[in-house]
Amino acid sequence: MAEREYDASRYAPPAEVGEMELPHPKGFIGKYVWSQDAKVIAVQYGLTATAIGLVALVLSLLMRLQLGFPNSLSIIDPGSYLQYVTMHGMIMVVYLLTAIFLGGFGNYLIPLMCGARDMAFPYLNMLSYWVYLASVLILVAGFFVAGGNTGAGWTLYPPQAISPGTPGIDAGIVLMLVSLAVFIVGFTMGGLNYVVTVLQARTRGMTLMRLPLTVWGIFMATVMALLAFPALFVAVLMMLMDRLLGTSFFMPEMLSTGEGGDHQGGSPLLFQHLFWFFGHPEVYIVALPAFGIVSDLIATHARKNIFGYRMMVWAIIIIGSLSFVVWAHHMYVSGMSPYFGFLFATTTLIIAVPTAIKVYNWVLTLWRGNIRLTVPMLFSIGFLFTFVNGGLSGLFLGNVTVDVPLSDTYFVVGHFHMVMAVAPILVIFGAIYHWYPKMTGRLLNDTLGKLHFWITFLGTYAIYYPMHFIGLEGVPRRYYAYGETTFISDSVQALNAGISVAAFIVAFAQLLFLFNLAWSYSRGREAGPNPWQATTLEWQTPHTPPRHGNFGDELPVVYRWPYDYSVPGVKQDFIPQNVPPQAVEREPDAGRGGTA
């Protein structure tokens, strides 16, 4: 089977594009602050996203404190609780996950894995980061203005988002909307860069079907983001006008304390459509890079080629396309024609098919692989569990009749945290453990890593699994306190306390990770250029960490796909992508090809 690949790859095509001119700044500021090097920009993105993500983590702890041990902290009142909910959600989805996957891993891995010197437009890439930083600062400013952040929920539904009574109605909502608009501008600069680099700046021999799945995932997510963020941009502009100019795009005529407002005839449903036309693809913008990265981690650490590479690529493309026609499944309870509900339920459930293909292929890659239980592998396996769990509860919620009673309960919270919060975060951790040696030249500490994994993995189950049961009882989400109700049993409070304890343990376990990052930077074991014996191009750079320009004098030439692990009859159990067929060391007496 493998032989045919080698014969076709004997040919190395000539270079089509001349060498890229790179600015080589000398000083510290040019190299590390106003840097045009994608790798430095990636670290800048990663650190900023982590910093703002920690803020969101603390907010979630404050929420858990209130839910598990009501009224134990006097600063948490109903208004501030709503602000925590809003900021936690928005930061985690947009400013952490989107930014770290596309801005962080995208910037670091796309040029290295494609065999490019840098992104196609380094200057624009730099601008992208600084605009992103500005959007984060505008968002953070919301914590300090009078009235505080907006408490509209991360979906920012009008009319309540800009109506009196919602926290942060004065400045918070304006800052949130401006910050989102700025984020989208910054992201567009970066996103166009990633797309052009993947399409037009690959090295000789790197065909699209020889790209590592990591690049495929990030590429497709970027394309989706470029097409989905416009809807949010439009919604944000319109809501800003509603808030600042008194227009009525989304605002119907309302009575407030017996008096009519200024607004008339707007459509709140229009906002929901625009928001979810962005919001649903956003789920896959976060998930697809995770899919791609986890495919590479599993193949590398199981020493086996990824099962069904072509199907994996097509599944990524199909998931990306389908995710644009499912958005209204977030709006089953908004008042929708049953025919539309049927249509959107159907498209939603169809997405399960390519997703299931991916899950089967990951499992089949593991099957009879030479699995090395390294920390990245542990996180990848953890991802498979949480993702399948969250995906299965998604099948419940995709059906209109099941969704209507479960809508806005903790079942939904449990579902989406499993599938799009924990699962991608586990991949991020795995990816950091995997690529940290390339970024710094040193391995992260293994013992701390394993401790971090087990606490995080088991802890997240302790947090989100019980939420499904709480949700089935009908406990609504986003409530500060439940008050006197007959349908909520007393055990819910006990479960909530347990969840909160688990949440605190998991949160503090992240300190282990942060400590590991800092400690290993100077004290970690020397990694060498290719500690995991991986095949992809980023491990074949002449320097570790790679210098500006990535590949030294000569760009690599690619002769094979990225998954030549455990090829029968070959001495080493991996063949890097840039090793020509005649240079592969074979076992002297091994039969050629055949099934091992």
């Binding site: 200057y123 399409l199 065909t207 079907m209 809807a231 439009v234 502009l237 795009f249 005839g265 229009l270």
Partner: protein
């Protein structure tokens, strides 16, 4: 730039060949410079912005509770005592479409390395664009004098003013930026920066005549979007 690999020995003719070509090494789109590929990507993203605007406008118009103002009266001009509907907007549309023609000529002259002709046509395009923006400003002023505001107007649904100012304003901003870039590009062409491949002011990218074409793509796009805005606001 090195030679094309379009006659790569491994590529097949027909549909399979096209797919193989797209997936082949180094570049999905052969002979397409990076900046042009990026402009297409940007325009695709921008199409989604304008599409969302126009769909939002349709939704707002359909769901508005008050009656929608009559376009042929609102946008009419009084010329010599006669009530002429759509006069101004017809002129504006004509001017903008014509500017697409001058832009296309500028691209052609650019590739023929005719510096003066290219620069002149770019300036002409910029002038046509600027006059479009000027007439738009005139129309805005007229409407504002008649009492149209984003939050209300004398004739009916207040969403009329909101959508009109938002969407034509967003488009007008696109045209204004286009005019700015046209002027910059004209200066570059006239000074011979493109021919000498001098690096740009900020990014340090070397000048090439493809830049004129890339700017042209943007300009044509802005014109095309106007056709849709024109149809949905003035003819509906």
């Amino acid at each position: 730039m090195a030679k094309s690999t379009l006659r790569d020995p491994f590529l097949e003719p027909g549909l399979r060949g096209m797919v193989g070509d797209l997936a082949s090494d180094q570049r999905a789109f052969k002979e397409v410079p990076w900046s042009k590929a990026m402009m297409w990507g940007f325009l695709l993203s921008d199409i989604f912005i304008f599409a969302c605007f126009l769909v939002g406008y349709m939704a707002a118009r359909i769901t508005a509770t008050a009656p929608w103002p009559n376009a042929s009266e609102v946008f009419a001009l009084e010329v010599g005592g006669h009530h002429v509907p759509l006069l101004l907007i017809a002129i504006m549309t004509f001017i903008l479409i014509s500017s697409s023609g001058t832009m296309a000529l500028a691209v052609k002259c650019g590739y023929e390395r005719r510096r003066l002709a290219t620069g002149g046509l770019l300036i002409l395009t910029a002038l046509l664009g600027a006059s479009f923006v000027g007439m738009q400003a005139f129309e805005w002023t007229k409407l504002i004098h008649e009492g149209v505001r984003p939050w209300g107007n004398p004739w009916g649904a207040e969403q009329f003013g909101a959508t009109f100012f938002l969407i034509t304003g967003f488009h007008g901003t696109h045209v204004s930026f286009g005019v700015l870039f046209l002027v910059i590009m004209a200066v570059k062409v006239m000074r011979g920066s493109l021919e000498a491949q001098r690096p740009g002011f900020l990014t340090g990218r070397r000048g090439r005549y493809e830049m004129v074409e890339t700017l042209g793509l943007y300009w044509h796009f802005v014109d095309l979007v106007w056709v849709f805005i024109f149809a949905f606001f003035y003819l509906w």
